[in-house]
Structures are given as C-alpha cells and as structure tokens.
C-alpha cells in the first residue's frame, strides 16, 4: 500500500519556513549550475552559428587563429583555381581572401564615453565576394562600405560595447581615418563582435602583403574530402583546410572547456551545502513525526511505503527548489556577456542560452541532491520499530 502524494506534499506545506529555506538553498545551487552551463552553451552556439555548412576556411599550417595566420597571394590564387570551389553565374570563384588584424579599442563606459579599459576587436578586410558568402549579415544602420575607400562597418556587439564607433564617427589607426558608415547585425554570430572594411585598403594600410585566411564555398557539400585531398597533395600549399563550422567550433574550445570545468566544480562543491540542508530538514521531519510513523506502520503501511514517502518528500522539496532555480536562471537569457576569447585573443559577445539538455540536467541535478540528502533520514524512518515509535510522544 502506498502513501498518497497529497500526504507528502502537505507535510512540506505545514513547515513552510523550513521548506522554503531548504528549497531556497537548492534553488541557488541549481541557479549556479544552470547559469554556467548556459554561458557555455551560448558561447558554443554563437561560434558554431558563425560558420556556414558549405564554406571551408584555409589558414597557414600550424596557426591556431586567423590573426596568427598568413597566406601568400600565390597560394590564395591556387585555392581559388581548385575544381571543388563553387562559381557564380559569371564564372568567378566564390572565394573570399581576407585580412584579419586586431585593434585595441577603449570599451564604452555607462555614459557612452571611452573608459580606461581596452580590449581587442578583430578588423576584417573583405572583398565584395566575402559579403556574398555571408548572407546572414544584415545592415541595421547606415550603408555598406564602398570598395576601395577608407570606410568601415561595425558589428552590433562592437557598437554596444565600445566607444567611438558610432555611425558618423571615425577611428584613427594605421595613419588613416576610417569612417564608420554602417552598423550590421550578423544574427548572434562572432561577426557581430567584428569591424569590417575593404580587404585591399586594410591590407595596404597595415602593410600586409598576403592574406590571413581564405574562405571558399564548396561546389557541393560533399566535395570537402576531395578538396582536402587536393590541398594536402599540393606541395605549394602550406595551408590547413577546415570546414568553417569546425574552425569556429575549435575557436570556442578553450573558453568552453574552462567554463564547463568551472561550472561543474562550483556546482558540486555548492551542492554539498544544499545536500546537508536537505538532510537536516529531513532528519527533523522524521524526528517530529516519529509518532505518526508508528501510527502509519500500525495501520499496516509497509516499511517500503514509509521509505518511499520520505524519499518522495525530499525529492519534491528538491524539485521545487530546482524549478525555482531554473526559472531564475532562464531570465539570464536576456543578458549578453562580453569577454576575451583566450584562443583568438579578441573580444567576443555571447548570451546565456537555455537548451533542453540544460533543463534536463538541472532537474536531474536537483533530484540527485534531494535523493542523497533524503536517503539516510528515510532509511531511519523506515527502520523504526512500531512500539518504540508509538511510545515516542
């Protein structure tokens, strides 16, 4: 015979203050657990969304980022001539030869002026084809830069986080004034944290003779293996080819591993506190209801039912705490975090992202805390002898 769930829930309701405090402690643990995982998921989503499925990216062998890489003009031309590369209606290769450098800019303080803190912003020089390869880029203010001019457009996150990059303002670097003529939104991708300008103008200004990276669209999605083989067998090409999506996923790895390690370590340590809280509460519940347990046993409820009832009470307590923590964490989705990605050494903006996996994991984590905290008290309750328990009051 099982004890009804209402009995379990009522017990929690009767001791509201204790229930609220214990569940509150668990809610905080689940909040931290979910928040850090959401941060990591947001980072990965941002970087993975940056790459397109049918684009490949070439950087110099051994280089870890576009900024470190250098590709000579002859090599870029060789990649352009490969048969696996897509061509447009006029027969031009759908290849973008780009220059990426970092510029250290002052961050924007709350009143919009320049603060003393600086961070690195990637400046990407793109040819007209580069824009065609990134259809996700939408202008939200102003217009696109004119090829062959000292004009730049800034990503939406850069416009929000940095000072001096508003429409109409100009940046001064490499002995030139660069006019901001537009702000673009690249739909929550890493491009939102970049500044774009004309490839030839930027490489001249920075006195770069080669390119940083070459992005090519594949003729068909499954042409990747053939392209890879063609590049690897050509001794003139000292480049590494990756799918664009893979490249950006690799860029997130160090920071993402760090966040995950941090989140799990903190959650496990913090959960010890909450588990102890649950154990204290459940021991007290068992102690104050000793007579009641005796009565239930005398009425014919089995030890198993008593064990189940107390475990269920603890699980319910943890579940309510976990749900409160999860709901609180879900509000974090409105917040955008901006920090330096260790790997690319440049500023990257990303949001907290709540995925179904995180919801499941958070609930499971909360239930595990309830199970561990409630187990010993529930065993104690189920082992009581009827006579002793009835005599207790």
């Amino acid at each position: 015979m099982k004890l009804p769930l209402v009995y379990v829930a009522r017990n929690l309701w009767v001791r509201r203050l204790t229930t609220a405090l214990t569940a509150g402690g668990m809610a905080l643990v689940v909040f931290v657990f979910a928040a850090v995982l959401m941060l990591e998921a947001g980072l990965r989503q941002t970087l993975v969304a940056t790459g397109s499925a049918d684009n490949v990216l070439a950087i110099r062998k051994g280089a870890a980022t576009e900024v470190q890489s250098g590709i000579a003009r002859e090599q870029a031309a060789l990649i352009e001539s490969l048969p696996q590369v897509a061509r447009d209606a006029d027969g031009r290769a759908r290849v973008s030869k780009e220059v990426v450098v970092l510029n250290s800019l002052p961050k924007r303080s709350d009143d919009g002026s320049a603060s003393a803190t600086r961070s690195n912003v990637p400046i990407r020089g793109v040819p007209p084809m580069g824009l065609a390869l990134r259809p996700q880029l939408k202008l939200v203010q102003g217009r696109m830069f004119r090829p062959g001019s000292s004009e730049i457009v800034v990503g939406a996150s850069v416009a929000r986080q940095f000072a001096g990059v508003e429409l109409g303002q100009s940046l001064s670097f490499a002995q030139r004034q660069w006019q901001v003529v537009g702000v673009f939104d690249a739909g929550r991708t890493a491009f939102d944290s970049e500044i774009w300008g004309d490839a030839e103008q930027l490489s001249q200004a920075f006195r770069r003779f080669g390119y940083s990276s070459v992005i090519a669209q594949l003729d068909s999605p499954d042409a990747f293996e053939a392209l890879l083989a063609a590049v690897e067998t050509d001794p003139r090409l000292t480049v590494e080819i990756k799918r664009e999506r893979q490249f950006y996923e690799d860029q997130s790895r160090a920071l993402s591993n760090f966040l995950r390690f941090l989140g799990l370590t903190l959650s496990v340590i913090f959960s010890l506190g909450a588990v102890i809280g649950a154990a204290i509460t459940m021991y007290a519940a068992v102690a104050t209801r000793t007579g009641e347990i005796g009565t239930l046993r005398a009425l014919g409820f089995a030890r198993r039912s008593i064990l189940a009832a107390f475990l269920l009470e603890s699980l319910l307590l943890a579940l309510s705490g976990g749900l409160v923590g999860l709901v609180a964490a879900s509000f974090l989705q409105a917040i955008t975090i901006s920090t330096t990605n260790f790997q690319s050494f440049s500023e990257l903006a990303f949001s907290f992202a709540l995925t179904p996996g995180i919801v499941v994991n958070s609930v499971a984590f909360a239930l595990a805390m309830g199970l561990i905290g409630g187990f010993l008290p529930a065993v104690k309750a189920s082992r009581m002898k009827i006579v002793d328990a009835l005599r207790a009051d």
Partner: protein, 386 residues
C-alpha cells in the same frame, strides 16, 4: 558562565543537526575562501610589477610589432635608465595543454632590468654563450621537471617551424611574489631565424620594457616616448608595467567578476541552511522558552540565548574553515591551479572576509527565531506541541 553553559548544552542537544550545520558552514566558508583566492591570483602578475618599469607597445594592438631601431631612440630620452626588448613567442611544447609563456629577449639588458630574477653565475654565463640557450624559471622547471641541459623542442604558432632550445639556466625568484613560470631565450636567435626564413618579419619586436630613473617621472617619460613616435608608421602606447599586466586581467574581467559574485552565492546557500537549523531549533523549544519567560526571564534573555547558540555554531564552522583554507588552497593549486596560476597565496584579507561572513551568518540565521520567540505569549508557548 551559566548562560554560556546553557548555550553550549543547547547546541549539543541535537548533535547530528549541529554537526551537519557546522560541516555545511565549513564547506561553504572554505569554498568562499578558495574562490576569493582564485580571484586574487588573477592579479598576481600585476602585483609583481615594478613601479619604475614602463612597457611600450604598438598603439594598434599587441599583434602589431615595433621596429627594433626604436630601442636606441627610447634610450636617448631623458629619464630613461635602460631599454630592453621582449617578444611573445607563443610556441607549443609537447601539446596545447602543457602551456607556458616563452619570450625572446635581448638577454643582458633585459635581465639587468629584472633584478628579481636570480641566476647562478655559471649558468648565467652558459646561457649567454649559447645562442639557442633558454633560461627557465624555478616554478616552470618544477612544473614540468625541466633540468639544466634538457632539450626543449617547441613548435612555433606565430613563427612557423620547429625550434629546439637547450635549458642553460634555471633562475630563482628573489621573493615569494616573483613569478618564475616563464621561459626566456635570445632575441638574436629569433631575429636570425626570421632574417633567413621570413625577412619581412625580421628586426621587429613585440614590446620595449623601459626602466625609468625616478618613479616620480614615470608618467612624464611615457608621454615623451609616445610623442616621439606620434604620426609614424608604428605609433607607440606606453604604460606602466602594472597597467600593462592589468590590461590582460581586464580582458577576462567578466569571468573574474562572475567567479567573485558566485563566491557570495555559496554564503547565501549556507545562510539558508543555518537559518533553517535555527528556525527548527527554536520551534522545537517554544515550550521551553515559554517556561523560561514564566520563570521571570525577560524576552531579551530568550533572544540572546538563540543568538548566542547561532553564533557559537557559526563561529565554530568559521574557525574550522579558516584553519582548513591554506591546506585546501595548496591542494587545489597542486591539482589544477599550477598550469593556470603562477602564484596562489591566501591573502590575510580573505581570512577577515571569512570571519566576517561567519559572524554575519550567525547573526542573520538567528534573526527570525529571535523575533518570534521574543514576541511569544507564554500561554501559546506552553500550549505548543513541537
């Protein structure tokens, strides 16, 4: 004396509950201390910076180099005692996980400006003599077991190719604050390599470290250096070594801030646990409190009884946590921290914060039960069944 005895007896009545609460407090306050230490460890590099050293870098960003001939121009500026070059190498030894920093420096000048690195004279001479020699700090040598004479193959990421260095010297730090977790080698080696393989990259350096004669003139000298190269191909940005180091911390400031705020959440979690313990304790003893009041003890006596019990529990937990923090921090540093942090010391301020947090916890946990029991009517209390 009678009061204290009563308090301790009360605390020991529900032994398991008190023990669990103290255990929770110990874990939470030790975790809080550890997180505070992690936050402070980020700033260790900046704390070790000298007030008379300046760092000049390309004003666009660190990715852009400065021409080597700037060295002589900077040296000629009034107030400058010495100039040395330092160049981030960014190579990979073994694999990406075994990270350590390597710098190409112009050896005698550079180390003349860093008296905190102490060389054994024989090793120093060997290091200077070998163009492919490397000087490895004591912390780094201990971390990966490097010994004098070891060969270090390092794969370049910024400077392509495989480079092989020989450990010629292991330098010691002058004091605890000195960070010796990096490797230095000769800029001349790097420059010759670049001249042969990538001539356009040669004769460039990452930053200049400038030693100023008088700490009071630091800002002045920095302005003069930047003015000297204004409107040139490579403009400079000169700042104190401390500001330079802090700019790296600022880049990951968001994450440091997250860790710092999370460290206060663990206090909140344990506050909920401690408050729950006190609330339950007080509720069970309502009849006793009513009896005490009926015997003539005032409402403040009962309140003080609860507060004292809460404080005894919190202070016990706090004291154990403070005693455990140094070994926990040392264990954490050995297990995972050594590859990330150069220095991991618990600051005295951390102990003070822990003690303050323990007191605040004791006080806040007792608040609601204190008010409730003080307001308690004797009749209701005596009628109450736990």
């Amino acid at each position: 004396m009678f009061f204290l005895k009563l308090v301790v007896r009360n605390a020991l009545r529900a032994r398991l509950r008190t023990a669990l609460t103290v255990l929770g407090l110990v874990i939470a306050l030790a975790a809080f201390g550890l997180l505070q230490t992690v936050v402070q460890a980020w700033y260790a590099g900046a704390d070790a910076a000298s007030p008379t050293r300046l760092v000049s870098r390309n004003s666009i960003s660190l990715v852009f180099p400065l021409p080597i001939y700037y060295r002589d121009k900077i040296r000629a500026i009034d107030g400058v005692r010495g100039v040395a070059t330092s160049n981030w190498f960014g190579g990979v030894w073994r694999d990406e996980r075994s990270f350590f920093a390597q710098f190409a420096v112009d050896s005698p000048q550079f180390f003349a400006m860093y008296p905190e690195f102490i060389f054994e004279p024989g090793q120093w001479a060997d290091f200077l003599r070998d163009r492919r020699g490397a000087a490895v700090g004591r912390q780094l040598a201990d971390l990966y077991g490097f010994k004098v004479g070891d060969r270090l193959p390092i794969r370049g990421t910024i400077y392509p190719g495989n480079h092989e260095f020989t450990v010629r010297a292991i330098y010691e730090g002058r004091d605890e604050a000195t960070i010796t977790r990096q490797m230095y080698f000769h800029y001349d080696y790097l420059n010759e390599y670049l001249k042969a393989r990538f001539p356009r990259g040669a004769n460039n350096v990452g930053v200049f470290v400038v030693d100023v004669t008088d700490p009071a003139r630091v800002a002045d000298v920095a302005r003069t250096i930047d003015a000297e190269f204004a409107n040139s191909l490579a403009e400079t940005l000169t700042e104190t070594e401390k500001a330079f180091q802090l700019s790296f911390v600022a880049m990951v400031e968001t994450i440091v801030r997250v860790i710092s705020s999370v460290s206060y959440i663990v206090i909140l979690i344990i506050l909920a646990v401690a408050a729950n313990t006190m609330a339950m304790t007080a509720r069970e003893r309502l009849a006793e409190y009513a009896t005490l009041k009926a015997l003539g003890f005032g409402p403040s006596f009962v309140a003080r009884l609860i507060l004292a019990e809460s404080l005894v529990i919190a202070v016990t937990g706090g004291a154990i946590a403070i005693a455990l923090t140094p070994p926990v921090a040392a264990g954490f540093f050995d297990a995972v921290g050594r590859t990330v942090f150069a220095r991991f010391e618990v600051e005295p301020s951390t102990y003070l914060l822990q003690a303050a947090a323990a007191l605040a916890l004791g006080l806040l946990a007792a608040l609601v039960p204190m008010v409730r029991s003080a307001r308690l009517k004797i009749v209701d209390g005596l009628r109450h069944v736990g």
